[in-house]
C-alpha cells in the first residue's frame, strides 16, 4: 500500500517544476456534436505484477483540484519515453486530452514501489497498471456521476475531463464529482477497457512532451537542479578496488583552493565540499597528490583473462536438460565452437550525479537511479538510518543502460549531506571515475555443441556459459553501493545478486528435442552489474553465429535453416519479414549481409536483424552500411517511441560488437576515457530501418533491449559473408579479421 506523504511534497514538486498549474478545460464546448464513445470490453486476464502491492486506483491515479488527472508510476525516465507511453494509455482509457494527464514518476512515499526500471518491464508493468487503474476510474466516475446527476449511465458521456448528460442539461468535471475525495477502491477484474479499434492515442506515433523542453535548455536533468545555497562536492576514489587509505595530508588545501567548505574522511572514503563546482574538481586533484593508499592486487593479464575466468568458476549448475543429449549424440554429426565476450561499459554520456540534503530529520535525495525504493533500502543500511527517514525523488539523468553510477553518486551525496545538515550537497562524478569505477557488463565465455541428423535437423544442443552475475543492483545489501566498502566499518558484498541474467537466452528458441544448458558462475576480477539486455547479448551472439555455421555445414540458406527449427508463427513472421525487406539490397565486392534472430528472454518480444557490412580486406576495417530490424513487441503503445528505442539498441550493440572492450593492466583499469574506450562516432553510423509488426491483441512488451542481442551476431555473420573470416572473440576488430 502506498504511504501517505510525510513532508511537504508541494515544495519538492514545485522545485522540480512538476506542480500541476491547471490546463485549458477543453470539454465539449468546442465540439459541435457529442463525440462517439468507443465501446468497452471486459478484461479478465492477469493484472500486472506492479499492482500486487498497489491495487487501489488512487495508488496509480489521482484527480487534481482543476479536474485534471495525475498518474503515479514507480518507474523512472531514462530517455526511453516511458512518461509519454503512460500518459497515452491513461488518457486513452479516460478519454481525456493528453494535456489533461500528467505523469509523476518515481518518488518514495508518493508513487508505488515498482522496483527497478529495467528488463524492458516498464510497459508491461507500469503502463498496464495505469491502463487498468484508469479504466477502473472511468467506471467509478460514471457510477458516481449517475448518482449525482440522477441520470442513468447510458445517458451520460465522459469525455475530455467532463461527464455530461446527453441532453446537455448538466455537466461536471472529475474534481467536482469527487469533491476532494480520491478513488480509493481496488482495481478488480473484470476491468472494462476500451476496445482497441476505438483508440485515439495508443499505437500512434505521439511526440514526446520533453523534447521541446530539451531544445529550449529547460531544467530537466538532475545536473540542472539548483537549490539556494547548494554546495558542490567530489569524492576521491581509492587508488584501486582493494586499496585502503594510509595517509592523507590536506594541509594547505584551504589556501590552494578557494571556496573550501570541508574535507570529509570516513575510513577510506574521502570527500571534499566546496562552494563552486570547479573548486571541488581542483580540491580532489590536490588531495589525490597528497594521499597514500595500500596497493590493490593485480588483475589477471588481459590476454589470459578467459582462461583465468574458466579456472575460477564454480562447478556448473544445470539450468535446462530436455531429452538426453549424450544418448542422442550417438551416431549423428556433432559440431562445436567457442565464443567470448569482453567486459563492456555502460558509458553514459553524463557521469553519475547525486544531490542530498539532511533537514535534521529527513534525508532528501535527488537521484537518477533506476530504482529509488531499492536504493533507499541500501542507503538506509549504509547510513544505519531508518528508511522512513529517507525521501528519494527520481530526476532524469543521461541515459545509463542498466545499473551504472547513479546510485553510487547518490550515496556519496548522502554521506556528505549528513555531515552538513541543512545544506544541499551536489556530487558530480568525473569522466575518469565513471569509466574506471562503474559496474561493467560481465565478460562471458560460451562453448556450444550441436548434433545434426542426416536431414540436417538439429537433434541435440548444449550451451556451457561462463559468466559473472549480471545484477548487483542496490537493494537490502548496502555493500552494493560502492562507498559502503570503504567506510570506517566497511561491509563486503553478501551475495552475488541475480545470477539468472547470465544465462538469459542461453537455451535457443529453436525446436530441439535434446537440450542442455550449464552455467558456470565466476566471481570475476572487475566490478559488474546489469548492462542493457544482460547475458542475452553474449548468448545470442554465440547461438546465432553458430546457427549460421551449422546452416553452412548443411548447405542451407541461413534463414531457411532457422525456419525449419521454428514453430512459433510470430518468430517465423519476423524472419520472413527481414528476408523480404533485404531481398532487394545490392551487394558489391567485399560486402555481405548477415542475419540473426532472438525472442528476448524466450518469452517476450521477437526481433530479427539484418546487417549489411563492407570489409576492407587489406586493412580489415569493417564498415556497417545499413541495419534492418523486423520486430514484434505485441501491442504497440507509442509507435515512434518504440522505433527510437530499437534503432538506438541496434546502433549501441553495433558499437559494442566492433569497438568495445574494457582493458586493464596491473591493478589499473586502463579504459579511462573516450580515447581509451572508444565507442561509435558519427562517421561509423549506418542507416537503420525498423519494421514493426503490430499485434494489438497481444500483450504489450517493452522494446528497450530486444534489438541488441541479434545485432551482434548479425554483424559477425555479415563479416563472415563479406570476408570469409568468422570471428569468435568480441569485439570484431581489424586485427582479428586479418589474423
Amino acid at each position: 500500500m502506498i504511504e501517505l506523504p510525510k513532508t511537504s511534497r508541494r515544495k519538492f514538486l514545485k522545485n522540480l517544476g512538476y506542480i500541476s498549474v491547471g490546463f485549458p478545460m477543453l470539454g465539449f464546448a468546442f465540439l459541435n456534436q457529442d463525440p462517439e464513445m468507443a465501446a468497452r470490453v471486459l478484461y479478465n486476464g492477469n493484472l500486472p505484477g506492479s499492482m500486487r502491492n498497489a491495487n487501489q486506483i488512487n495508488a496509480w491515479l489521482r484527480v487534481m483540484e482543476d479536474g485534471s488527472v495525475k498518474v503515479f508510476s514507480g518507474k523512472v525516465e531514462l530517455g526511453q519515453g516511458i512518461r509519454m507511453a503512460i500518459c497515452q494509455v491513461a488518457a486513452e482509457e479516460l478519454d481525456m486530452e493528453l494535456d489533461q494527464v500528467e505523469v509523476h514518476l518515481a518518488e518514495t512515499g508518493l508513487t508505488p514501489d515498482e522496483g527497478y526500471t529495467a528488463g524492458s518491464g516498464s510497459v508491461p508493468n507500469s503502463a498496464m497498471s495505469a491502463r487498468y487503474a484508469a479504466a477502473m476510474a472511468r467506471k467509478k466516475l460514471l457510477e458516481l456521476a449517475s448518482k449525482k446527476l440522477n441520470t442513468p449511465e447510458s445517458e451520460l458521456i465522459l469525455y475530455n475531463g467532463l461527464v455530461k448528460t446527453k441532453n446537455g442539461s448538466q455537466s461536471m468535471n472529475f474534481a467536482q464529482l469527487l469533491e476532494g475525495a480520491q478513488l480509493e477502491m481496488e482495481v478488480t477484474k473484470p476491468v472494462p477497457v476500451k476496445v482497441k479499434s476505438g483508440y485515439r492515442y495508443v499505437g500512434k506515433a505521439i511526440p514526446r512532451k520533453d523534447i521541446p523542453k530539451m531544445v529550449r535548455a529547460e531544467e530537466i536533468y538532475i545536473q540542472d537542479l539548483r537549490f539556494p545555497g547548494m554546495l558542490h562536492a567530489r569524492v576521491l576514489r581509492p587508488a584501486g578496488y582493494q586499496s585502503k587509505l594510509e595517509k592523507l595530508d590536506d594541509s594547505g588545501l584551504g589556501s590552494a583552493v578557494s571556496g573550501l567548505v570541508k574535507t570529509v574522511v570516513n575510513g577510506s572514503f574521502v570527500g571534499v565540499i566546496t562552494v563552486r563546482e570547479y573548486e571541488a574538481v581542483k580540491a580532489v586533484d590536490f588531495l589525490k597528490k597528497r594521499s597514500q593508499w595500500s596497493e590493490s592486487p593485480d588483475f589477471p593479464r588481459q590476454e589470459n583473462m578467459y582462461s583465468h575466468l574458466k579456472e575460477i568458476a564454480d562447478p556448473p549448475q544445470q539450468i535446462r536438460n530436455d531429452g538426453n543429449v549424450n544418448e542422442a549424440n550417438n551416431g549423428i554429426s556433432t559440431y562445436q565452437a567457442s565464443y567470448t565476450k569482453p567486459y563492456l561499459q555502460h558509458g553514459s554520456i553524463g557521469p553519475g550525479c547525486g544531490i542530498a540534503m539532511f533537514d535534521g530529520d529527513i534525508l532528501h535525495i535527488w537521484s537518477h537511479s533506476q530504482g529509488i525504493y531499492p536504493m533507499r533500502r541500501a542507503i538506509s543500511g549504509m547510513l544505519k538510518m531508518d528508511q522512513e527517514k529517507i525521501h528519494v525523488i527520481s530526476v532524469p539523468g543521461a541515459g545509463c543502460f542498466g545499473h551504472s553510477t547513479a546510485d553510487d553518486a547518490a550515496a556519496d551525496a548522502a554521506i556528505l549531506a549528513m555531515t552538513l545538515p541543512g545544506k544541499h550537497i551536489r556530487v558530480q562524478w568525473s569522466r575518469e571515475d565513471e569509466h574506471t569505477w562503474e559496474p561493467y557488463g560481465s565478460s562471458m565465455i560460451l562453448d556450444l555443441k550441436a548434433g545434426l541428423d542426416s536431414q540436417g535437423k538439429i537433434q541435440t544442443w548444449t550451451t556451457d556459459v561462463w559468466t559473472d552475475t549480471h545484477s548487483m543492483r542496490p537493494d537490502s545489501d548496502p555493500a552494493t553501493l560502492l562507498d559502503t566498502r570503504y567506510l570506517e566499518s566497511p561491509a563486503q558484498l553478501k551475495g552475488r545478486g541475480y545470477l539468472g541474467g547470465g544465462h538469459r537466452n542461453a537455451d535457443p528458441y529453436y525446436s530441439i528435442p535434446n537440450m542442455q544448458v550449464n552455467a558456470h558462475f565466476f566471481n570475476g576480477p572487475l566490478r559488474v552489474s546489469s548492462l542493457r539486455s544482460l547475458g542475452s547479448y553474449g548468448t545470442i551472439f554465440s547461438i546465432e553465429s553458430f546457427m549460421d555455421e551449422l546452416a553452412e555445414k548443411e548447405g542451407k540458406d541461413p534463414i531457411e535453416f532457422r525456419l525449419t527449427h521454428l514453430e512459433d508463427p510470430r518468430a517465423i513472421e519476423v524472419l520472413k519479414k527481414i528476408k523480404e525487406t533485404t531481398n532487394s539490397a545490392k551487394l558489391n565486392d567485399g560486402e555481405g549481409i548477415g542475419f540473426a534472430f532472438s525472442r528476448y528472454k524466450n518469452t517476450t518480444a521477437y526481433a530479427a536483424v539484418a546487417v549489411h557490412v563492407a570489409v576492407d580486406t587489406k586493412s580489415g576495417a569493417v564498415k556497417v552500411l545499413k541495419m534492418w530490424a523486423a520486430v514484434d513487441v505485441g501491442e504497440i503503445i507509442n509507435m515512434d517511441g518504440i522505433i527510437n528505442q530499437l534503432e538506438g539498441g541496434m546502433i549501441q550493440a553495433a558499437s559494442w560488437t566492433l569497438k568495445e572492450e574494457v582493458t586493464f593492466e596491473g591493478n589499473k583499469i586502463t579504459s579511462e576515457d573516450w580515447d581509451s574506450y572508444p565507442i561509435f562516432r558519427f562517421p561509423e553510423i549506418p542507416e537503420v530501418e525498423v519494421h514493426m509488426i503490430n499485434r494489438p491483441e497481444e500483450a504489450a512488451e517493452g522494446g528497450g533491449e530486444v534489438s541488441m542481442p541479434p545485432t551482434g551476431a548479425a554483424i559477425a555473420n555479415a563479416v563472415y559473408k563479406a570476408s570469409g573470416k568468422r570471428v569468435y572473440d568480441l569485439p570484431i576488430t581489424p586485427e582479428k579479421i586479418l589474423s
Binding site: R208, V215, R276, E647, R681
Partner: protein, 157 residues
C-alpha cells in the same frame, strides 16, 4: 578573486571566478545555464559545446581567462527574441531526435555552426561535422535526419 566580463547570448555578463575555471563551469555554475552539459571535461564528447564567434567549440577545458571578448552563444541563445526556435531546434523536435537528450545541446550547437558555414551539407559532411559529438543512446540516425530537416526548414524561410 578575479572578475571577468564575457559576451554571452548578446549581452554582457560579469562574474567572479578563479582564472583557470573552464568556461563550462562558469556557464553552468555561476550563470546557471542548462544548455551546455558536463560530459567528460576532456574535450572528447561535445556535450558542453557552445558557439564561440560562430564556431562550435567545447567549453569544458577552455579557461575563462582565455575567453576575452569572444561572442559566446549557448543553446539558450538560439531562439529569437519572441521565443521562436532556430530551424535546427525545430527540426530536432520534429524528428524526435533524442532519447535521454543529454547530448542534444552539443548536437544542436554543432549542427547550427555547420549550417551557417555550409547551408546544404551531404550525409558525409554532416557526419564529419558531428564527429566529436558522442551519443550513447545512439540516436545518431535520427540526428542526421534532423539536420537534413533543418536544411529544408531553413530553405522554406
Amino acid at each position: 578573486m578575479p572578475k571577468f566580463t564575457i559576451k554571452l547570448n548578446g549581452s554582457k555578463k560579469t562574474i567572479e571566478a578563479d582564472s583557470d575555471t573552464p568556461l563550462l563551469y562558469v556557464l553552468r555554475d555561476h550563470l546557471e545555464l542548462n544548455g551546455p552539459k558536463f560530459g567528460c571535461g576532456l574535450s572528447q564528447c561535445g556535450a558542453c559545446m557552445v558557439l564561440i564567434n560562430g564556431k562550435a567549440a567545447t567549453s569544458c577545458i577552455r579557461p575563462i581567462s582565455s575567453v576575452g571578448d569572444a561572442e559566446i552563444i549557448t543553446l539558450e541563445g538560439l531562439a529569437d527574441k519572441n521565443g521562436k526556435l532556430h530551424p535546427v531546434q525545430e527540426a530536432f523536435v520534429e524528428e524526435q531526435a533524442a532519447q535521454c537528450g543529454y547530448c542534444l545541446n552539443g548536437m544542436v550547437m554543432a549542427s547550427v555552426a555547420l549550417l551557417d558555414s555550409k547551408p546544404n551539407p551531404n550525409d558525409e559532411e554532416i557526419k564529419e561535422a558531428l564527429e566529436l559529438n558522442l551519443c550513447r543512446c545512439s540516436t545518431q540516425a535520427r540526428i542526421i535526419k534532423a539536420v537534413k530537416k533543418a536544411v529544408k526548414n531553413s530553405a522554406g524561410l
